[in-house]
Symmetry: C2
Subunit: 331 residues, 2 copies
């Protein structure tokens, strides 16, 4: 057996580079050129008779702010990143909206960062509608856009880069509690946090006259479309909403942003990302949801989970850990 240390492996590789062991005695073929493109990021599964399609919007990779986790020192966050083999000081955040075909309705839940971001990011983000199309779903066929909360990565995709509607034939349904908060000029004037102020402005930019004409509010505890029931999961935002998607005996919990990236915030539910508008409330919600997911062995679909963003949850110590569901090559 050869040695297994990496250094020795590389020494072997370097030594052998000059003398490839296998002369190609077959007629020489020009190797095909590199293909150079990634697979369209979509994945499909069924919940009873409901067809779920996860289509990634892509990722963002950015330098972590000093207060990315407001109640935890950056070197502790860096140690947690190292544990999952991720680069120090950098955040890589996936964005994964879903489409839901419930027979009667073709809905999307959240919209990603939008076509403008596709252009700004050179295609690294803003991929949702192109991946949806690759999955056979035309944005013009979507009849309901369900919004979980009003952060930019969830609502910006309502508009194309030219400001036109991404889903021209869809009703846009939003949580009543979220709508009341972000559309209230009094709340806006009282917001002291600069990030929250910026979000108030972005909501007013995205929710233009055409969007507002198509907007209706939905209540927690009720079905939004058949098989998709809204649950209030406040904290991340005041009106943040998750969904129980069920059909027959089968169900999945679509958690929206109950946790941000699982490799930090599922493992450490007590960590408060700066995105969480009310950190203490977000943590209480997180523990309730994750205790339920672990106890009921219920699968979770998470917007910021790595694509295809579908996992089970186990309880580990004072936190949790996600166990991705195996990719099913058929549906």
């Amino acid at each position: 057996m050869t040695d297994f240390t990496r250094r020795q492996s590389f020494a072997v590789a370097a030594g052998a580079a000059a003398a490839v062991s296998l002369p190609n005695v077959r007629p020489a073929h020009a190797a095909a050129p590199p293909a150079g493109k990634q697979a369209a990021g979509w994945y499909r599964y069924k919940i009873g008779s409901i067809e779920m399609t996860v289509a990634t919007d892509g990722v963002a990779r950015f330098k972590m702010a000093e207060d990315h986790v407001i109640n935890i020192k950056k070197d502790v966050v860096n140690a947690a990143l190292a544990e999952v083999f991720m680069e120090k000081d950098m955040m890589t955040t996936p964005y994964n909206p879903v489409a839901i075909n419930s027979g009667g309705k073709l809905a999307v839940i959240d919209t990603g960062t939008g076509e403008a971001n596709y252009k700004n990011s050179n295609g690294v983000g803003g991929q949702f509608i192109t991946n949806l199309a690759a999955a056979g779903i035309d944005r013009a066929a979507v009849d309901t856009v369900i919004i979980s909360h009003f952060h930019g990565d969830h609502i910006n995709g309502l508009l194309m880069a030219d400001g036109s509607l991404t889903y021209p034939n869809a009703e846009i349904v939003v949580p009543a509690v979220e709508q009341k908060y972000w559309m209230d000029d009094g709340e806006m004037s009282r917001a002291t946090n600069a990030r929250v102020q910026t979000n108030f402005k972005n909501v007013r930019r995205v929710f233009n006259a055409e969007v507002m004409k198509r907007m209706r509010a939905y209540e927690w505890g009720k079905e939004v479309i058949p098989g998709v029931t809204a649950q209030g999961t406040p904290g991340h935002t005041i009106g943040h909403t998750s969904y129980v998607i069920s059909s027959g005996q089968d169900a999945v919990y679509l958690q929206s942003d109950v946790t941000h990236v699982p490799f930090l915030f599922v493992r450490h539910p007590d960590w408060h990302a700066f995105y969480d508008q009310d950190g203490a409330m977000a943590e209480a919600t997180r523990r309730k949801v994750y205790d339920m997911l672990a106890a009921d062995k219920m699968r979770v679909q998470g917007f910021h989970y790595p694509f295809p963003s579908l996992a089970h949850v186990e309880k580990v110590g004072t936190g949790y850990r996600e166990i991705p569901v195996l990719w099913n090559p058929t549906i």
Copy 2:
């Protein structure tokens, strides 16, 4: 906040089913029909200038034999399956060969279960060449087929259902140690294990005259194609081989079957799957490889890892645990 127990969620869902909260006041649209098909299972990444394409062959799902893990009782194996939210008594095994474009060569490493199995399994297995094609790689353009070991799920894909060559323009390169063992009639006559006998027969079936004409042996410790160095990792079979794939400062360890499905055998390296021809040797190899992977933080590409089969490895207690690499939406 609504209640979070699953029962209560479902009660809400059932109660709301009759009265959808949002009358669709927009013009009615016929919802698009369910798409009904899964994404082509392929994923691409670069190792320096080498382009790696994982293309899944699919999965097999079957009732676990009493001696599936020969040195561990079935109820202990079932408990381990429950820990990863998998069904009792059932094994779900993914098969994930790769294609490697190293510039000079377009190779595949292992061939999956083959077109005959695609037909027999109704498309659940035997998908490798269709997923390769979806990834832009024509089987006729492959110039080198690298075989890691002579088990059916690695060699059967050499032949199409009609017995013709799947890769008509490729040299077929095999580990010298593996070739010597399985092609030796003396070894065949001395094999007492029925599964090993069956494999001797399958090797002789697949390695027909056309395959043998194209076959060359390679040695451990040498490059098989530029950037791909063979490492002897015996135990699973006598001549079982893994590969260090490296280019520039980047590398990945292609482990073949050093472990079978990671959710059992990475966590429990002391468990001997019945597939391991020499359990003790396979375990020693496994520990050596995984200690190296963990110490060097080296990524591993695993044939029986869930698609896309690329992970880091951490040491946990007396075993290890895989941490899947985030899906990169670009390459």
